[in-house]
């Protein structure tokens, strides 16, 4: 297990300079993610347009490199998505970082959109089970907004 598997350069980069950090003007929804193990807390906010499209997403709060980078990347990825698309993306992401349900395929290959996007950088998290909570802190909070309830606690 090499450190670079976990701390991919894109993760380090986003954790150093998180995008869309700070309160969101005209936010329509807010949710909070809380990791009791370390006391970290992230608040996420979105502004939904009249047709239900995500117009903007931002976050506030402290956390480790993994949770900050995930929050930062998701604020970018979610923009322009419908709520249904957003939910699907988050579910795929959570499946990826927790490892695929099929025991056979543990190759670590992400699926669908994430195969090619920046979010693929989080594929290494599955080898660090104690960090799954970090990677899913912000995504789970976003999911709560879009699905109207908390997603399965990662």
């Amino acid at each position: 297990m090499e450190l670079e598997e976990l701390y991919q350069s894109i993760i380090l980069e986003h954790s150093r300079r998180p995008r869309n950090k700070g309160p969101l003007e005209g936010a329509t929804h807010t949710a909070v993610g809380n990791n009791p193990a370390c006391g970290d807390e992230i608040a996420v906010q979105v502004r939904l347009g009249p047709t239900g499209i995500v117009e903007a997403a931002q976050f506030t709060g402290q956390g480790c490199a993994i949770s900050q980078a995930a929050a930062s990347l998701f604020t970018i990825k979610l923009k322009g998505k419908t709520q249904e698309e957003a939910c699907k993306l988050i579910r795929q992401f959570i499946e990826m970082v927790k490892g695929l349900p099929e025991e056979e395929d543990r190759s670590g290959k992400p699926s669908g959109e994430m195969l090619f996007g920046d979010l693929a950088a989080f594929a290494g998290v599955r080898k660090f089970p104690q960090r799954v909570k970090c990677a899913t802190l912000a995504p789970n909070a976003f999911y709560e907004i879009f699905a109207g309830h908390r997603s399965e606690n990662a």
Binding site: Y7, C38, C64, A65, I66
Partner: protein
């Protein structure tokens, strides 16, 4: 064992868990405030019990039961002498420090304190010395106050003096902070509280394996130990009760061992210590804890204390040369617990990267969230030392922390 000095190779040889590699590096175990490793003697005491004397205690006349009972009660005596408990009947075996504090809340404070009374804690307490009192306060309509700290992370004695007054009836405080490394002057505090008729509970979880403890001198009402933090097994701890409180203790858990007579209509109870030890106790662990006491005394708790402090001062010196390093807690006369943060690197990431080099640190709130809020930090990283830690290990730790720094730059 008399020639064993803290940090020496012959002492380290007694701790099997120290001699392993983690991620291709020799293990650097710096998480001793969470739990300590166990010397062969202690492990062997458990094995010996199960291989030879294994039996239930107190209930049997046969040979094995007699042997088990004698060893178990001898362990109580030994632990009583280890802390100079005024009366070994007040030495109660519990699962750990946490349970011991809950026991005092339920079996003493719950019936002795009155609505409106105040329990005083400090801002540096472990959750185990906060939450039991919050649960009790809700039930029994008591209030809770927290004695504040100086900027350096010591108790503010002017404020404390004010708070040690009505309606305060109990002051429960930690001997050593598991985050700050602060050593509270327990004897002085207990004397002050006692002079004002306020009962005291000393949470010695962090000091019991590191410091000489003398309950007669402390003159506290309750003293709480954590077995697994003093070279003993997990699942064993001790509550020592001062005899002046014996008459105020109510039954706690009900069951075998603690009763005198049971009828369909009701029951009468034994006296201490049995009153508070319902059911089969952790027999092997209690016996092994007494062996841990022997071991610690053979090294000398003064020697351990000095060793801890020397390492802490070395760590303060070496760590503070690292760019962006902020060390938390007092600069001197402190215990072997050093918490710190690195600018722009979250403690989780510090610990993760350290682990890749075989270094076991802890990162998080250390079960002291209220203190974290006072410090205005969501979490810290922490290195904590023990009698087997060497100066060389502290040097290597400082080097690893410098590499962590580099990794995130």
């Amino acid at each position: 064992m008399h020639e064993l000095t803290p940090g020496s190779p012959s002492l380290r040889a007694l701790f099997p868990a120290l001699h392993q590699e983690v991620n291709g590096h020799p293990l650097l175990y710096f998480d001793n405030a969470a739990t300590t490793h166990k010397p062969t003697f202690v492990i062997r005491a458990i094995t010996d019990f199960y291989e030879k004397d294994n039996s239930n205690v107190h209930r049997g006349l046969h040979e094995l039961s007699a042997r088990a009972t004698a060893s178990f009660e001898a362990a109580r005596q030994r632990i009583g002498s280890f802390i100079s408990a005024p009366n070994p009947d007040g030495v109660i075996f519990t699962r750990g420090a946490t349970e011991a504090i809950n026991l005092v809340a339920s079996a003493w404070a719950n019936s002795v304190l009155q609505p409106g009374d105040r329990i005083l804690l400090t801002a540096m307490e472990h959750h185990s010395n906060i939450v039991p009192w919050q649960l009790l306060a809700n039930r029994a309509r008591l209030s809770i106050a927290f004695a504040p700290l100086t900027p350096e992370g010591r108790l503010d004695f002017d404020e404390l003096d004010q708070l040690l007054a009505p309606p305060t009836r109990l002051f429960a405080f930690t001997h050593i902070s598991n985050v700050l490394g602060t050593v509270n002057p327990a004897e002085k505090i207990c004397a002050l509280a006692h002079s004002r008729g306020i009962a005291t509970l000393v949470d010695a979880a962090q000091s019991c394996g590191h410091f000489p403890l003398d309950m007669e001198a402390l003159n506290c009402d309750f003293l709480v130990l954590s077995g697994h933090k003093m070279c003993g097994p997990t699942g064993i701890g001790v509550l020592a009760i001062h005899p002046r409180r014996f008459g105020q203790i109510s039954p706690w858990q009900g069951g075998g061992e603690m009763i005198e007579r049971v009828t369909f209509e009701g029951s009468t109870y034994k006296s201490l210590p049995h009153l508070l030890e319902a059911g089969t106790p952790p027999i092997a662990s209690a016996i092994a804890l007494a062996v841990a006491c022997d071991f610690l005394d053979s090294i000398g708790r003064d020697a351990i204390r000095q060793h801890d402090e020397k390492l802490a001062m070395l760590a303060l010196d070496l760590f503070s040369r690292i760019e962006g390093m902020e060390i938390i807690g007092p600069r001197n006369s402190r215990a072997g617990v050093v918490s710190f943060t690195l600018t722009d690197v979250h403690p989780h990431d510090v610990v993760e990267v350290a682990n890749r080099f075989g270094l076991a640190l802890r990162g998080g709130h250390h079960c002291a969230q209220p203190l974290m809020r006072v410090l205005a930090k969501p979490s810290t990283a922490r290195a904590s030392f023990y009698l087997y830690t060497t100066e060389d290990e502290v040097h290597r730790t400082a080097e690893i922390l410098a590499q962590v720094r580099k990794f995130f730059n």
